[in-house]
Each structure stands twice: as structure tokens, then as C-alpha cells.
């Protein structure tokens, strides 16, 4: 565990105690009201809050590539169907594991190219190296589950991949001997012979080497003698080549190569433990990486995961590896909680880089138990800077039937639109959320604007409401009312009249607006031509009376009352005149 000492400029200026609070990726430091003892306080200034963030830049461009590429692999992995037979699945899992590793490798290479410029990158490179090493070993031992015979070859590849320069020299050492003796050696992977056949041949060869040593055949040439000793697997000789080998696991694999090429997986751990002890010597203590590798050789998967979580401080690795192992059905049930915990830790780690919220969604989807809940909480906190972003968030919610969140997001956007006077936008958000209450609010706004200005704004919207009109009663009224105005403007008076009347009789119009509607009827009543029929006039009259019979509004001033009664009188007069003319018209027989 490293401890960091960081000087925060400006903190503690006022000689007050500082408090702090942990956040998901940062630390909040604030000044409290408590004075430090014995110090005279300076003048009270405004307290400040400091956000302290770790230098390690999770949002570094190269690491982001790692997150994005691995996300694609992760999603592909989740899609592998359960019913595929396990033989085919194994090769799929191995190839997925290789994909992950190639992503790690690409990331590492890029970091190494930039390594000179930024020191945190070198730190990342060494972590990625360790990760790839462990992952590769887990792939060989657990995912590919190489059986005896090919196990050693895979281990050879593994060691080779990670110690390429050493390998070159080792190859030199090996090549200096007769190639023929090695031919049969490399025949194993082709499967041209069974394990036992190979074993017999190998033992025969091994005995021959031994005999050469005993006979001092190579006594004249020390170099050749050393080689022969190596071939026989003499541990002391091998240990002498410590620099070439550089790590205990290289020593292990070399040792196995020359003493037990047909090693079986369960026997691995004995050799691993002893190799490590022999190589490291009595004084050196194993590093965390060594312990992890040793646990892997012991096939203790649980221990490997546990140690990785603690030692590596890299949730990306643990989360993805355990997910793959889980798919391979290698984790026992008591590990599943572990998986869940690991995944949520990865998510909170990703949370620090705010842009990655879309990646996180797929991980939340596959988080057992609490994934859905976390996602619901998380998605509501994504800042909605633009409509496009809000649309993307909504799509995520709608796809997962998160109706609460859909409603609340649409409401936020609609309110914002309303505040900026974008009534069409506000309406479109209400339509998406099927929010009748908000649609009513918007309609009220329109009607208010109309009564303030005397004309309708946003006619392009009102004239083209379409089926959206049915979302709320008030909205329907608004649409129809606008239609009335339009009909009037087009001089289609009888249709307009019919519509106006229906607005009142069908109770689409709110009571509060009846007076306005009746006033709108006045010009129609005053036309030379009779527009309202007798029946229609009677209905208008009854509407007027219904309106007047209602309880008086006590808040009305005297002036308002006067206006109201004048209006009523005018209407009554107009209606009466219209009635008279209508009766005459309808009574007249056309000749």
C-alpha cells in the first residue's frame, strides 16, 4: 500500500479544521467551522470546497481504447447461446480469451510507444504486462484446460511470449546440440503419437543423455557437458543459468521440459512450489505476482481472483476475467457474489470517466441481483445537456421498460423547453412520455398566450397536431379551437359555427373559457346571413344561462362584474335577434 502526501493549495488558509468525504473517484475536502486550538482566527472568508482527484488518469486515451474494445468483446460473449454444445463453446471461449489478450497487448504496445512522455504510462505498462501474464496462464490452465502432453507446450508458449529476449538466448543454448535428438521431442503436439508412446521414447532418450553424462562423453568440452546436464534436467545446472531464466516460472517450465514433459495438470503445483523456492532462495520473499501465479498452478481459482483484486488495483482485469470464467462455468456458486461485487466495483471505477456511461449500461445489464437498480439510479444522473443526449438516454430506458425514468426524463426536457418558450418541443416530449398532465399544462400555456396576445402563436404546431391531440382533453380543445379560427378565417361560417357549438355542448371546452367562446360567436350572430339555426341558437342560449347560473366569483371586482353583465346583455340581445331571424328563415317556404 502506498501512501501519498499531497499539498492542497488554499486549504486550511483560514486555520479551521478540514473535513473530508470520499466520492466514487475523488475526495471532497471542505473547511469546517471548528477553529484550530490556540490560533487566533483570521477574518472569516467564504469557506471553500476542494475536489481532490487521483493523478492516475483513468480517462487517458489509451486506457479508453481498452475499455471500449473490451466492451465489444464482453457484449459478444454475453450473446453466446446456452444451448451450443460445450465442445464448440470451449473453442469460442478460448478465442474470446485471445481477443481480450490481444486488446491488452495492443494497449500495452501503444503505452510503451508513449512511455517516454508520461510517467504514469510506464506504471500502466507494468500492470498490463502482469495482467496479460496472469490472463494467459489462466487461459492455458483453466479455459483451454490443456491436458497432459500439450500442457507443457502451452506453458512453453506462455513463457516464451513473455520473455522473448531470454528465449532467444535459450534457443541458442539448445541449438548448439544435435538437432536430431530434438526431432522426436517436438513431435508431441502433432498428436502423431500417444502420450505413452512419447513417454517411452522420451525416457529412452533421457537415459541416453544420462549415460552420456556418466560416461563422461563430453568431459572434454565443458560447454557441451553443461548442455547435457541441462538436457538431463539437472536442477543445479539449471539454477546456474539464473540470469538467462530471470523468473522462477521460466525455471519451472524449463525444468519440466527436461524432467517431466508429460506433466499432468494436478501434479503441476508440486513442481511450481519447489521451483519457486529453489529459484528465489531462502532469503527472498515472493511478490504478489508470484503468489498469484502459484495459486494458478495450484488450480485455486478463487485464490487467484481474490489476490488479483487486492494486489492489482485494476478492476477491469478482474471483472472481465471472472466474467469469462463464469461463462466457462468454472466458478462455483459462492464465487458468484464475488463476481457481482467485482462488477459493481468496475462500474464505480468506470464512473470516474463520465463519458463511459453508455458502456456501463451493458455491464449493468449483466450484473446479477442489483444491476437493474444501479442502472435506474445511474441513468437518472446522466446530465442532459442536449436533446440528442436525452434521446439516447431515453432509448436506453425504453428498451429496458424503465417507465419511471422515461417519464421523469421527458418531464425534465419538457419543462426546460417550456421555460425557453419552445412549446412544440415541450409537446413532443410529452407525447413521448404519454404525459397527459403535461400536455394539459402546455395547452393552458397556449391559451394564456392567446388571451394575452389575441392571436395564436406556433400555428405550425396547432394546425398539425394530428392524433397527438387526443393525449389530453385540453389539448383536444386547443386543436379544435384553433380549427374554429381557421374555418372562420376561410369564411366557412356554418362549419365554424357547428364546431364552436360542439365545443361547448360536448363539454370539450373548460367552463372558464365558455364566455370567450360565446364572445367568439358574436360576429357569427351579427352576420347579415343567418348562420346559427334555431336549434343551435337555443343551445347557445342555454349555454349562456348555464354559465350565468353558476356561483358568482366573489373575487370579481365591481368593474369586472360590470363587464361581465354587459357582455351577457350583448349576447342575449344578439341571440334573440338571431333567433328571430332564424325562425323566420326556417319558417319561410322557398318558392
Amino acid at each position: 500500500m502506498m501512501s501519498l502526501l499531497q499539498f492542497i493549495p488554499g486549504a486550511g488558509f483560514h486555520q479551521k479544521h478540514l473535513g473530508f468525504e470520499w466520492g466514487p473517484g475523488d475526495l471532497l475536502v471542505y473547511e469546517t467551522n471548528y477553529k484550530l486550538q490556540g490560533i487566533r482566527p483570521r477574518s472569516a472568508g467564504s469557506p471553500s470546497v476542494h475536489v481532490v482527484r487521483r493523478d492516475e488518469d483513468i480517462c487517458s486515451p489509451i486506457l479508453r481504447k481498452l475499455f471500449n474494445e473490451s466492451h465489444l468483446i464482453f457484449v459478444g460473449l454475453q450473446k453466446i447461446k446456452e444451448d451450443v454444445p460445450s465442445k464448440n463453446k470451449k473453442s469460442q471461449f478460448v478465442s474470446i480469451s485471445k481477443n481480450y489478450r490481444s486488446v491488452i497487448r495492443a494497449c500495452m504496445e501503444e503505452l510503451q510507444q508513449n512511455a517516454g512522455k508520461r510517467s504514469p504510462d510506464t506504471h500502466h505498462v507494468s500492470i498490463l504486462l502482469a495482467i496479460e501474464l496472469i490472463w494467459n496462464l489462466c487461459e492455458v490452465l483453466f479455459i483451454d484446460a490443456a491436458p497432459a502432453g500439450s500442457l507443457l507446450l502451452h506453458l512453453l508458449d506462455w513463457v516464451r511470449l513473455h520473455k522473448s529476449d531470454v528465449d532467444a538466448r535459450a534457443r541458442e543454448v539448445l541449438q548448439s546440440d544435435s538437432p536430431a535428438q530434438h526431432q522426436s521431442y517436438w513431435d508431441v503436439p502433432a498428436g502423431t503419437q500417444t502420450l505413452t508412446e512419447f513417454d517411452v521414447k522420451w525416457r529412452h532418450w533421457h537415459e541416453e543423455c544420462d549415460r552420456c553424462l556418466q560416461d563422461n562423453t563430453f568431459a572434454s568440452n565443458r560447454h557441451l557437458e553443461t548442455i547435457c546436464k541441462i538436457l538431463v534436467g539437472d536442477e543445479d545446472t539449471l539454477l546456474e543459468q539464473r540470469e538467462l531464466l530471470s523468473t522462477w516460472y521460466h525455471f519451472l517450465v524449463t525444468r519440466l521440459l527436461f524432467t517431466h514433459p508429460t506433466i499432468k495438470p494436478p501434479d503441476l503445483h508440486y513442481y511450481a512450489q519447489s521451483s519457486m523456492n529453489m529459484f528465489l532462495g531462502p532469503r527472498a520473499s515472493p511478490e504478489p505476482l508470484d503468489i498469484i501465479l502459484l495459486s494458478a498452478f495450484e488450480f485455486d481459482l478463487h485464490q487467484v481472483i481474490k489476490d488479483c483484486s487486492i494486489a492489482l488495483n485494476n478492476w477491469w482485469f478482474v471483472a472481465h476475467l471472472t466474467d469469462l470464467l463464469d461463462h466457462c462455468k468454472l466458478l462455483q456458486s459462492h464465487n458468484l457474489q464475488c463476481v457481482s461485487h467485482i462488477r459493481s466495483s468496475y462500474l464505480s471505477y468506470m464512473h470516474v470517466c463520465v463519458s463511459l456511461w453508455q458502456l456501463a449500461v451493458d455491464y449493468f445489464d449483466h450484473c446479477p441481483e442489483f444491476g437493474r437498480v444501479y442502472l435506474e439510479l445511474q441513468i437518472e444522473r446522466v446530465p442532459l445537456d442536449t436533446e440528442r443526449k436525452a434521446i439516447k438516454v431515453l432509448r436506453i430506458c425504453e428498451d429496458r421498460q424503465m417507465s419511471e425514468q422515461v417519464r421523469s426524463i421527458c418531464k425534465i426536457m419538457a419543462k426546460r423547453a417550456l421555460r425557453n418558450n419552445r412549446l412544440g418541443s415541450a409537446l413532443s416530449w410529452s407525447i413521448r412520455a404519454k404525459d397527459a398532465a403535461f400536455a394539459t399544462l402546455i395547452s393552458e400555456r397556449f391559451l394564456q398566450d392567446y388571451s394575452n396576445k389575441g392571436f395564436f402563436t406556433d400555428l405550425d404546431l396547432l394546425d398539425n397536431l394530428g392524433p397527438a391531440m387526443l393525449l389530453s382533453d385540453r389539448l383536444t380543445f386547443l386543436g379544435k379551437y384553433r380549427e374554429f379560427h381557421r374555418l372562420y378565417g376561410e369564411k366557412r361560417f356554418s362549419e365554424a359555427a357547428r364546431l364552436l357549438l360542439s365545443l361547448m355542448t360536448a363539454k370539450i371546452a373548460p367552463r372558464s373559457l365558455w364566455m370567450t367562446l360565446l364572445t367568439d360567436a358574436l360576429p357569427l350572430l351579427e352576420q347579415k346571413e343567418v348562420i346559427f339555426s334555431v336549434d343551435q341558437t337555443y343551445e347557445l342560449m342555454s349555454c349562456l344561462e348555464e354559465l350565468n347560473s353558476g356561483t358568482k366569483d366573489l373575487n370579481q371586482t365591481d368593474q369586472d362584474e360590470d363587464i361581465e353583465s354587459t357582455k351577457t346583455e350583448l349576447l342575449r340581445l344578439a341571440l334573440a335577434r338571431n333567433l328571430a331571424m332564424a325562425i323566420v328563415k326556417e319558417g319561410t317556404i322557398e318558392t
Binding site: 465489444l72 445537456d385 443526449k389 439516447k392 419552445r422 412544440g424 402563436t457 404546431l461 398539425n464
Partner: protein
């Protein structure tokens, strides 16, 4: 052939090919990409490398970064004005002209109209911009349509309150006419020769008012226009003829972000969507797109390799107008190997296709499969 993928560590909102000089019959090599949703957004210029390909025509070159420049706010749209000028639209409401130095060594800001789109007390994102040199038109969430000239510092004309809802996209129809689409599913035609601030024509679907997000005009026939919307439906309209679209195709299962006719071969259409797919639509019969439009077609979606992709919805066959189904077919092919996060943008020029996703990857096809001019 699979496209080349390049992860560029920023979510990509727009990718655009740099125009090749006319008459040279070159394949495009340089494209611009704009980012969004980052703490600091950038417009970047990328090159595909040398055109001297190997004899077998394999291009394994990844795109490499030539230059980039910081951008204030999300890049909501990007268009090349000409070979060395780029117009960008920002979520801060600004419209900027960026100049690309010769040899693409640097990208610098030539001119910016700050707060071209705005609310009275807040910023309003500019949602789209279209160019026909030297004129530019931008539209935004504030419902304004603004006309600029590239060399003039003042805007030429503003149509205030052009729309009560957000205008999502705009395209030139004729030199003085533009077509806009908005979030209540309307297409509006604006004629700048007219003094009044009201649209010359309004078209919309008779059904639900589904927001429209993208629009593109047929390169040869001015009156044919394709739109895509929130429900992933691809609609083809004839703007001369009334109020309903000719064709309605269920193209995608989520918002369609961009639709493009191929500029030199309009029998090919490309769409990309929030559902993570990019589709290439082409007619399989001999007739060209416009005849097909009048007669109608059946459409069938096939995946790139002929095998259905995981998660693909089988019922993406359109409901369709009567047509001579045996002869007229419209086929769609998936252009990306697997389902990614949302494909936000695409651009197609000659034989090359470039697109950008929310998975921070750019995909480039240097040779569109089954494509002939």
C-alpha cells in the same frame, strides 16, 4: 470484406470525407471526425495513408491522425465547405469555420458565429448545418433557421421562430430553397427569396408525430427526399406531390441518425442508427431508384455474411405499397461486422464509406462490396 476499425478514444458524433477535386476520379483519403460528450471535444482530421495499395488490393492501413483542434461544446454537425474549409456546429449554439492548412498540418479557427442559436437566458445547441459554398444554413434547438455567407462576419438572414419545436436537420433543395425536419415529424420547405418568415410548404405523415432526425436529397432529382426518424422508419418523399411519403420502410429498430444517397450513384442509399447498425440499401432490379419509388418495392434485410446476426429482428420486412414484387427489390446489407453502440454518423464518397460510433470507433470501408458505379 470487413471494414477497418480504429478506436480514437472519443465518442464520435460526425465523420465526413474531405471532398476530392472534381474530375480526378480519386478515392477519398482524408476524413474529419467530430467528438461529443467529452470534457474537451475535438475536431480531428485523419488520413487513410498512401493510395499505392498492394497488388491484391488489401488495405490494412489504419487511419492515422493528421491534426486536430479543440472544439467548444459537442460537435453536433460537421460539413466540408470546400477542400480546405470545414464548418462545425456546436452544442453551445456556435457555428464555426475551421481552416485546414495545406498538407493537413494544422486545423485552425477561421471564423465563428458565437451564440448563433440561443435562448433568451441560455444556450441553445445548433443541431445541423449544411453548405453550398459560399452559403451556409444552420438550424438549432431554438427553432431558428439562419443563413450565412462564408466570407461575411454578419449573418445574412435569420428566420426567427421558424419552428416551435427543435429542428433536427436541414438540406438544400435548390440554390435558394432548404428543407428542414423537426421533432414533431414535419418537413418544411423554406424559400429565401421570399420575404415572409413562414415556410413555403409543410409536409408530414398523417399518423403519429414521430420526430424526424435526418434528411437527404436525391443527387439528381431535386424533388425526391429521404428522411429518417425516431422510430427507425426510412421515408422517401416526393415534395411536389402532397402530403404523404411514397415509401415507408422499417429500416432500424431505433432512431435513425443519418441517411445518405450515394452522391454519384443514387441507386444506393445508406442509413445508420442508434441500434448500432449501418445499412446499405440498393435496388436489385435494373430500374433506378426513382422508378422504383413510383412502383414500390419489397425489401429484405440480409446480414453481411448471409447469416443472421445475434439480436437481429426478423420482422424487418417493410409493409409496402403494391409493386411488381418479382422485379423490383430493395436489398439491405449490414455494413458493420457486429452490433456496436450507436452509429452516429456516416459519409460515403466514391467507393469509400466512413462511420463513427459511440463505442469510440471509426470504421472505414475502402472498397464498398458489391458496389459499382
Amino acid at each position: 470484406m470487413d471494414p477497418t476499425a480504429k478506436y480514437i478514444s472519443q465518442k464520435i458524433s460526425r465523420t465526413r470525407w474531405r471532398p476530392v477535386p472534381a474530375g480526378l476520379l480519386q478515392q477519398p483519403e482524408v476524413f474529419a471526425a467530430g467528438s461529443w460528450d467529452n470534457e474537451s471535444n475535438r475536431v480531428s482530421i485523419w488520413s487513410l495513408g498512401d493510395d499505392d495499395s498492394d497488388t491484391d488490393g488489401e488495405f490494412d492501413e489504419e487511419p492515422r491522425l493528421l491534426c486536430d483542434s479543440e472544439h467548444d461544446g459537442d460537435v453536433t454537425d460537421l460539413q466540408f465547405l470546400d477542400g480546405d474549409r470545414l464548418v462545425s456546429a456546436s452544442s453551445s449554439g456556435a457555428v464555426a469555420i475551421l481552416k485546414l492548412q495545406p498538407d493537413c498540418q494544422a486545423l485552425s479557427l477561421a471564423h465563428v458565429w458565437e451564440r448563433a442559436h440561443r435562448y433568451s437566458c441560455d444556450n441553445a445547441p445548433c443541431t445541423a448545418v449544411v453548405c453550398r459554398s459560399p452559403e451556409l444554413v444552420s438550424v438549432g434547438e431554438d427553432g431558428r433557421v439562419i443563413l450565412y455567407k462564408a466570407d461575411q462576419t454578419e449573418v445574412v438572414r435569420v428566420i426567427e421562430n421558424a419552428d416551435s419545436s427543435t429542428i433536427h436537420a436541414v438540406t438544400f433543395l435548390r440554390t435558394t430553397e432548404v428543407l428542414t425536419v423537426n421533432s414533431i415529424g414535419q418537413l418544411k420547405m423554406w424559400d429565401f427569396r421570399q420575404q415572409s418568415d413562414s415556410p413555403a410548404q409543410i409536409l408530414s405523415l398523417t399518423g403519429d408525430r414521430v420526430p424526424l432526425h435526418c434528411v437527404d436529397k436525391h443527387p439528381n432529382q431535386q424533388h425526391i427526399v429521404a428522411t429518417g426518424g425516431q422510430d427507425g422508419m426510412l421515408c422517401i418523399w416526393d415534395v411536389r406531390q402532397g402530403n404523404t411519403p411514397f415509401s415507408l420502410i422499417e429500416a432500424h429498430s431505433a432512431e435513425m441518425w443519418e441517411v445518405h444517397f450515394h452522391p454519384s450513384n443514387p441507386n444506393h442509399l445508406f442509413t445508420c442508427s442508434e441500434d448500432g447498425s449501418l445499412l446499405h440499401w440498393e435496388t436489385t432490379s435494373g430500374s433506378d431508384m426513382s422508378t422504383l419509388l413510383q412502383r414500390g418495392w419489397n425489401s429484405r434485410v440480409v446480414s453481411h455474411s448471409g447469416v443472421p446476426l445475434a439480436g437481429e429482428d426478423d420482422s424487418v420486412v417493410s409493409s409496402w405499397l403494391a409493386g411488381d414484387s418479382s422485379k423490383n427489390r430493395l436489398e439491405a446489407t449490414h455494413m458493420l461486422p457486429s452490433q456496436t453502440l450507436s452509429v452516429n454518423s456516416l459519409d460515403v464518397l466514391e467507393q469509400c464509406l466512413v462511420c463513427g460510433t459511440d463505442g469510440e470507433a471509426v470504421y472505414v470501408h475502402r472498397q464498398l462490396p458489391n458496389f459499382s458505379i
